[in-house]
């Protein structure tokens, strides 16, 4: 978030009703993608899943201003909860999904209770989220019942829609597309409500907000719950799509980084930020992975460079650029 006059730009709406219509028409077009461009389906699914999780992060960190370095905690909660419920209890992931979201929200509220009650701010909050994510990571690694270091391999059932398993990628494409649209809509609506304004007020100036009667503790917890649930949803679909999860890919620190980079690059505190960031970063990682061939992890080098560049030159992310251009088009001065 930049200081000074630009602050006002992101209080309230980042996306007007007309812009929202444009987004929706884009979504309609996306429905035809699997038939015109089938080779990018996997990439698109990844883009959507990370957009959803990034949006979750965005609610807590972009809007409510509590920067979390440990969102992999909720991703892992989502992935493990639904998978364990299925493997141990035979519960279909369709039902496992809301349970995972609820459980994740509960964990979030617990962490939030500890952190916000003790007034942890800024880097301390970021680090405590990281610590909790790592604790869950370590427990998942060491606890045999949840698979330990081997993780969980969800048995292949073939095409069983009731168990959220499909041999084709298309159902996952549409599922993740709709969840993304849902998350965008939720945040878009939230922006305009009082709750959304309270989030942003608590972010910008906690003392002033409290003086005006905003219970920042309560709103932070609400933001945390929404954030955790949204990210967990992405985790569940991810687990069903790949049919394999392990502690590293779910609770790992790298995952937290991947999740939060999208809204940061795209524009924190905006509706489209996470999706925009995902549209840029996910294909970038795929392309560099193929180009660099030898060590596909090295695409993170570019992530690092981009992150540094964005922080220094574009603290409002890509949406900042877009907003600036839109304002200039409308002849408005910022």
């Amino acid at each position: 978030m930049s200081a000074g006059a630009d602050k006002k730009r992101y209080l309230g709406r980042s996306l007007g009703p007309r812009a929202w219509m444009c987004v929706l028409s884009g979504v309609v077009v996306l429905h035809f993608l699997p038939w015109f461009w089938p080779s990018v389906i996997h990439t698109m699914i990844m883009i959507f899943l990370f957009a959803i999780m990034g949006q979750g992060w965005n609610v807590l960190s972009g809007y409510a201003g509590q920067f979390s370095f440990g969102h992999s905690l909720f991703f892992g909660m989502g992935a493990y909860t639904s998978s364990l419920l299925y493997i141990k209890g035979g519960l279909t992931p369709w039902l496992g999904l809301p349970v995972a979201m609820a459980l994740s929200a509960l964990v979030g509220v617990f962490v939030g209770f500890l952190s916000f009650r003790y007034e942890l701010k800024g880097p301390f909050f970021a680090l405590i989220m990281l610590a909790f994510a790592e604790i869950f990571h370590i427990i998942a690694m060491g606890w045999e019942w949840v698979g330990g270091a081997r993780g969980i391999l969800i048995p292949l059932q073939g095409d069983v829609w009731t168990l959220m398993q499909f041999t084709s990628k298309r159902p996952f494409y549409f599922l993740s597309l709709w969840l993304t649209v849902g998350s965008l809509y939720l945040v878009w609506k939230m922006e305009g409500t009082r709750m959304g304004l309270y989030f942003q007020a608590a972010r910008e100036d906690q003392d002033a907000a409290e003086a005006l009667g905003v219970n920042s503790f309560r709103y932070r917890q609400i933001a945390m719950a929404i954030s955790a649930a949204m990210t967990a949803a992405g985790g569940t679909v991810y687990a069903q799509y790949l049919l394999y999860i392990d502690p590293d890919t779910t609770f790992g620190v790298l995952n937290s980084v991947e999740i939060m980079l999208r809204p940061i690059i795209g524009g924190p505190g905006t509706v489209l930020g996470p999706l925009l960031g995902s549209l840029v970063l996910t294909p970038l990682s795929e392309v560099t992975r193929i180009a660099l061939q030898a060590y596909s992890g090295a695409y993170l080098m570019f992530y690092g460079a981009i992150l540094v560049a964005v922080i220094i030159f574009l603290p409002d992310g890509l949406m900042g650029l877009v907003q600036g251009a839109a304002n200039r088009l409308r002849g408005r001065k910022s």
Binding site: L120, P123, E134
Partner: protein, 289 residues
């Protein structure tokens, strides 16, 4: 569970704790002076490890002598990072600074992957073969040396901060940046120097452990998290705190490994971390929070 085994673990914990202290002191300098949470600290240590590794492999230099190379190289690296990347955002919100150092660490780690592959590299030295035996307990020479080097580094840094002009300027700039500027101290330049010193500490710690720790691009990740735990435990900004915190965490981790299954030993550090953050955020030795 016999006593000699526990004693052995205690000693090993203390020895590695010394290294943690040095890493944490470097991190602490950066935080104490500039209030920057340096996520890239682990990758700086990793660079130090690779410098040592290549010095030995390519030039046949003794790993401990390579520290003479590591110190200036890492100092310059740290100084450059501060001057060109961090100084510009010195007034940005804290989380942006955190994100920037995260970006730097991502970049450095994966640059290492790109240049030197993610493979684990093991430094084969004669030193690694030597062990001291006291009854049932064996202590490896390289760990003792790592501890000694860390202690020397700590003492030198302490002397620098308390006795030298630079040290006094650093302390002034950290306590009262505006006042320091008024008396003519170039605060920006002090920041650059401080970051350089902090980086050099990480580099020396890296060179100290390279003889017995595998060298690979993401090795820094282990140490940076531990360093944060130490700094928070000891109290952000407290030199003494970082020193003792390192030893405490080293022992706590080692004891954790004795009683808990292998994968869970870092749990101890994290639980300590969370408890301190919640109940005594200023740390054991920290004055102001």
């Amino acid at each position: 569970m016999n006593t000699s085994f526990i004693f052995q673990s205690l000693i090993n914990g203390l020895l590695i704790g010394g290294v943690y202290s040095l890493v944490a002191i470097g991190l602490n300098m950066i935080f104490g002076v500039m209030k920057i949470v340096n996520f890239a600290h682990g990758s700086l240590m990793m660079v130090g490890m690779y410098v040592c590794y290549w010095a030995v492999r390519l030039a046949g230099i003794d790993p401990y002598l390579s520290i003479l190379l590591t110190v200036p190289l890492l100092f310059v690296l740290g100084a450059v990072l501060q001057r060109f990347l961090i100084n510009p955002i010195i007034n940005a919100p804290e989380h942006n600074q955190l994100l920037l150092t995260l970006g730097v660490s991502l970049f450095l780690e994966n640059l290492a992957v790109f240049l030197w592959s993610p493979d684990y590299r093991v430094l084969q030295t004669g030193y690694a073969q030597i062990n001291f035996y006291f009854g049932d307990i064996s202590i490896s020479l390289v760990r003792v040396l790592a501890f000694l080097i860390s202690m020397v580094g700590t003492v030198l840094l302490y002397l620098l901060l308390t006795k030298s002009d630079l040290g006094k300027a650093i302390r002034a700039a950290s306590e009262q940046p505006v006042g320091a500027m008024i008396v003519g101290i170039n605060v920006r330049r002090i920041y650059v120097a401080s970051f350089g010193i902090g980086a050099a500490c990480a580099g020396v710690a890296g060179a100290a452990v390279a003889p017995f720790f595998p060298v690979y691009p993401t090795v820094g990740g282990l140490f940076v998290i531990t360093a944060f735990v130490v700094v928070v435990l000891g109290g952000m900004g407290s030199f003494i705190g970082a020193f003792f915190g390192g030893l405490i965490i080293g022992v706590a981790e080692s004891m954790g490994a004795v009683f808990l299954p292998a994968a869970m030993k870092s749990l101890v550090s994290f639980v300590i971390f969370i408890l301190i953050l919640l109940f005594k955020p200023s740390g054991l030795f920290g004055g102001k929070s």
